[in-house]
């Protein structure tokens, strides 16, 4: 197996607050890694740093063997190979669903309209959104919007897909349809890094689970191990709280 993502000694501060304090993480091709941890532990920041949406303070990152933290790297080229899906969907409200999905293939990959639309429609159909192509995002439910966001990222055929708490903004009844979509992707071998509060989902779908606490990865193990027999006191404390809150 080859490395899809490699992170060494990543530090990131926002002003005085150090959010990431030395992250080391490796994700193999076709591997699904879930990031768990309390809100504010740095999961989202880590994903945004991998996608170069936040400048980092120290450390190095490689994606598919290319060092993305090299100052001379083509940042747009890196971002095109990494897909990210946000908690708040961030669909473009002034474009139809199909336009949302085909914008980047047209503009970045210079794909012809017909080709981009064919690819977009096929992907939307695969995620049960075939009849939503011409709708505008505000006509869709949260679950549908989030699936469109996933399709929009997939339309660029990324090497790695980053999911940032993609179900946190959804009604409980809509969570399942999005998680099922992610589960399908995992089965098809999509390399993914998933920040999530859905512990049951993490246990099912992840090859590895990394527990973040205070800007560090405290524990990184197979899900069976981390959920049934965590090594660190901090991990245990977190999981106890999750169980007490009925989230597992």
């Amino acid at each position: 197996m080859t490395e899809a993502v490699r992170i060494e000694g990543l530090h990131k501060s926002f002003g005085e607050t150090e959010v990431l304090r030395g992250i080391d993480l490796t994700v193999e091709d076709h591997e699904v890694v879930c990031l768990i941890g309390a809100s504010g532990s740095g999961k989202s920041t880590l994903l945004r740093c991998i996608d170069l949406l936040e400048p980092i303070d120290a450390g190095r990152i490689w994606v598919e063997g290319i060092e993305t933290t090299d100052p001379d790297v083509d940042e747009n080229g890196v971002r095109r190979r990494i897909g990210i899906v946000f908690q708040a969907f961030n669909l473009f409200p002034h474009m139809s669903v199909l336009r949302n999905v085909t914008l980047a293939p047209r503009e970045v990959l210079r794909m012809r309209d017909g080709e981009a639309e064919a690819r977009g429609r096929a992907l939307l159909e695969r995620f049960g959104l075939a009849d939503k192509c011409e709708d505008y995002p505000d006509r869709l439910s949260g679950g549908q919007q989030q699936r469109v966001a996933i399709v929009r990222a997939l339309a660029m055929e990324p090497d790695v897909l980053l999911l940032d708490e993609v179900t946190s903004a959804l009604d409980p009844v809509l969570v399942a349809e999005v998680l099922d979509a992610v589960r399908d992707l995992a089965e098809q071998g999509m390399t993914m890094v998933i920040a999530t509060h859905e512990m049951g989902f993490a246990r099912d779908v992840a090859n590895r689970v990394a527990f973040l606490h205070d800007g560090r990865i405290v524990e990184d193990a197979r899900p069976a191990r981390i959920f049934s027999n965590p090594e660190h006191a901090e991990t245990r404390r977190f999981l106890d709280r999750v169980i007490a809150a009925g989230r597992m």
Partner: protein, 290 residues
Amino acid sequence: MAEPPDALAGHGRGSRLLGSRPFLVSTVSTVVFLSVVTVIVVTSPGWPAVRESFFDPTAMKEAFFGVPEEGLPGVGQAFLLNVRIFVVAEILILVLALVVAVIRQLPGPVFFPLRLMATVYTDVVRGIPLILLIYLFGFGLPALGILGLSSQSEIVYGAAALVISYSAYVAEVYRAGIESVHPSQGAAARSLGLSRWQSMRHVVLPQAIRRVIPPLLNDFVSLQKDTALVSVLGITEAARAAQIYSAHTFNYSSFVVAAFLFILMTIPLARLTDWLIERARRRRQAGGVM
């Protein structure tokens, strides 16, 4: 409608209310209000003199068409110049202001000089009274003696001053629109591999411009009237033509004609602005319910 013509001013407000009773009430109250005002004006001691010097139908007709044999320009003909200046200036302002607004959003230290220039431009120009700017352009540029630049007609200098002045205001309107688009939209576009410019062009600007159309139109209502200011360069536009007529005949009806023409031009734009604001409000509400 079977309303008396002097109730026209209240027509829009009355008809928008649903049901016949509110409509009736608004119509009656408008008629009563206008009647009272009319009676006060018409019974005032100076009214006959005012009517003669401001509302003389013969003088109005004469002022509108002009008196060529006496060298008096027609206000109607002159007004076409205002329209032309307005249309050309408006198009140039829309483009120039957008360029300035986008420059002010350019990131990084490389673009600092450009950003600084754009900031200084909007600050300085908005600080200069428009009429002074028109004088500066109209008398300053020809005096410079620069080939090509200094040999234009006064109309070009006047229009250029309008474009430079209004672009500074409109750039700020655009900028407010750009900043009202949530940063997560830009992040989403960039995450797909779009360059900063592509993300601005396809994601940020379309949303920003849609939001600022009402304030933009408001600025253009104001621009339509300010075309009269170029008369200080000796250009015979509507206000100047009216002034020539009144200076010659000692009758001010020509000014009323000019004012009426300006109103005719601005009202459609003002109504369009209100309609767009109302439509945006309805859309937001519809979006909130869903």
